[in-house]
Symmetry: C2
Subunit: 331 residues, 2 copies
């Protein structure tokens, strides 16, 4: 294993320290709970939004804390749900009188941690609601999930509720918006290679030199099919054929299109995929109203990409277009 | 080779098409010359800034075209200088009465193409100046270079002259600023793996499972040393020991610190490196005034990273802090 790490056990805290050092004015780091939170959170006039998940999916979620996005993120170790007491402590520390919204990608371990933390926080008098995200069309039930998995489409739920919360929306309204965005968001991914967790030190699964995993999960879970590599045009068609009929997205629809890199794929290939997907959607009568190309939810160093569609209406489009400021920035 | 591509010969044009489709309001694509340019360029009130290089270094330079950055980028094929006639045609198309500034990373092939294009454009009456960037401290002279190589520090020259041009600076002033920034910018990189060019289909060089290349070039050129892998703390020390004495950066200095991913390294590892570098610089009495963590100048899918320091003064810091808008954006 060749990575930029010291002790694999310190991978997550050392990354979190780097994020905090790079954003001294806007973020705070609480090492006891792997917590990265906004320096100005909690605010009495704003619902607090928290997401936790396993680490290894960066920028999700520790690098999407900021104005118009998350108030805090409390990750677990690599590919491990955050401990329940991290979520509980985070919820208490960041609690606002307007309440706390917990965002949870749909994995059994995460649900358990967040459900228990919600119960304990409520017993302490904090008003808490939880939103589950399950945008992955690849499989129903999986290695770590009952129902569908939450993957890169999570970004759109975060962005929409983050924008609404900044405008003063109350907790019920945020739940309505989040459920609405999740209900019109669909994703599927393809792995070209496996990923290597620092503590394991070797690839999580085996893919032959000419093989790919269609519908891969962001923890390397199996998808729909182990297939032979094929050209990008064909792979985009496979993704659209799975995603478009699922909602369904129909001619005349206006969508947000995201090409998300899984960690080891260069941005050149992501833009190549974007061009193909854009043209294929237009050929199906679907208009791309907003686009997102880059890394939003990764799987460590996995080479691969996912494609997400969100059906837009005026409300969702305005929330996605609202300003936001997070740790990852070009300038 | 498993990449998201169709025909390797179409890799660059298909990527460029994707960039253009993703930015219909702000960018234009001229396929004949691999040219991506701002929709509002050329402008009579602003010096035109153009950079070309081989492809495979994205986001450099086709994704850094935009307000406050480049007016246009005319890349060659992967790791190949742009043909001289591309540079010539681009210079003519985007020529402003205030002149054209060409930015060139110091490689022999690129210098030749740009020198000839400058001569031909000047013969046609265009006022042209050229700036060479050579920030890589790793080696003097290399596989493709006389003198030092231009690598990720190029970003700071682009950003500074881009900001000044937006404010109306004339060509002489931009040359002064660009030379000044280049003169206080130093970079060195480390490869954990080789990269695989689409047309070759196999890794460009061999690195054993426990080997790294210290001082690697962005085309896989050899650096200072083929070494055994070591922990991130040690690798950052190696980079700082090469970079800091070179300028030299001294106690009391204020710097911009960039951790640049080479394409296949996840952002989690880049932030881990950032935290280490930040603390080691502070321990040397050097203050990190601005930070940059992410991919700025890559080498296809190479796993690796480079570290850049820029010595700041008020003028440079103000130019780096000025607003800019490019194709790569999170929202």
């Amino acid at each position: 294993m060749k990575k930029f790490i010291n002790d694999p056990q310190q991978f997550v805290p050392e990354m979190l320290k780097g994020i905090a050092l790079a954003n001294p004015d806007t973020l705070r780091y609480v090492p006891e709970y792997n917590l990265i939170h906004r320096a100005d959170s909690p605010r009495p006039d704003k619902v607090t939004i928290i997401q936790g998940s396993g680490s290894g999916h960066e920028p999700a979620h520790v690098m999407t804390v900021g104005k118009g996005m998350l108030d805090g993120a409390c990750p677990g170790d690599v590919f491990a749900a955050p401990p329940m007491d991290y979520v509980y402590a985070t919820t208490k520390l960041l609690a606002s009188p307007k309440g706390v919204l917990l965002l949870v990608n749909n994995y059994t371990g995460d649900r358990m941690a967040f459900d228990m933390a919600q119960e304990m926080s409520e017993a302490d008098g904090v008003t808490v609601r939880t939103l589950f995200i399950d945008d992955d069309v690849s499989v129903k039930d999986s290695t770590y999930t009952v129902g569908r998995r939450g993957v890169a489409g999570n970004f759109f739920v975060m962005k929409a509720v983050g924008a609404a919360a900044e405008d003063g929306a109350d907790l019920d309204e945020l739940v309505r918006i989040g459920e609405k965005v999740n209900s019109v968001t669909r994703t599927m991914g393809i792995a070209l290679t496996a990923c290597t967790p620092p503590s394991k030190g070797s690839p999580l699964f085996d893919l032959a030199d000419d093989e790919i995993e269609i519908g891969v999960g962001i923890h390397g879970e199996p998808g729909r099919e182990r297939a032979k590599w094929s050209p990008a045009n064909d792979l985009v068609e496979v993704l659209l054929d799975a995603i478009v009929p699922d909602l369904p997205f129909a001619p005349g629809d206006r969508v947000a299109l995201m090409i998300n890199g899984l960690g080891g794929t260069p941005i050149s290939e992501l833009y190549l995929l974007y061009g193909i997907a854009h043209e294929k959607l237009e050929a199906r009568g679907i208009t791309v109203g907003r686009n997102y190309v880059g890394e939003y939810c990764t799987s460590l160093d996995m080479a691969g990409a996912s494609l997400t569609l969100v059906k837009l209406d005026d409300e969702i489009e305005a929330l996605l277009a609202a300003p936001a400021e997070v740790a990852i920035r070009v300038f």
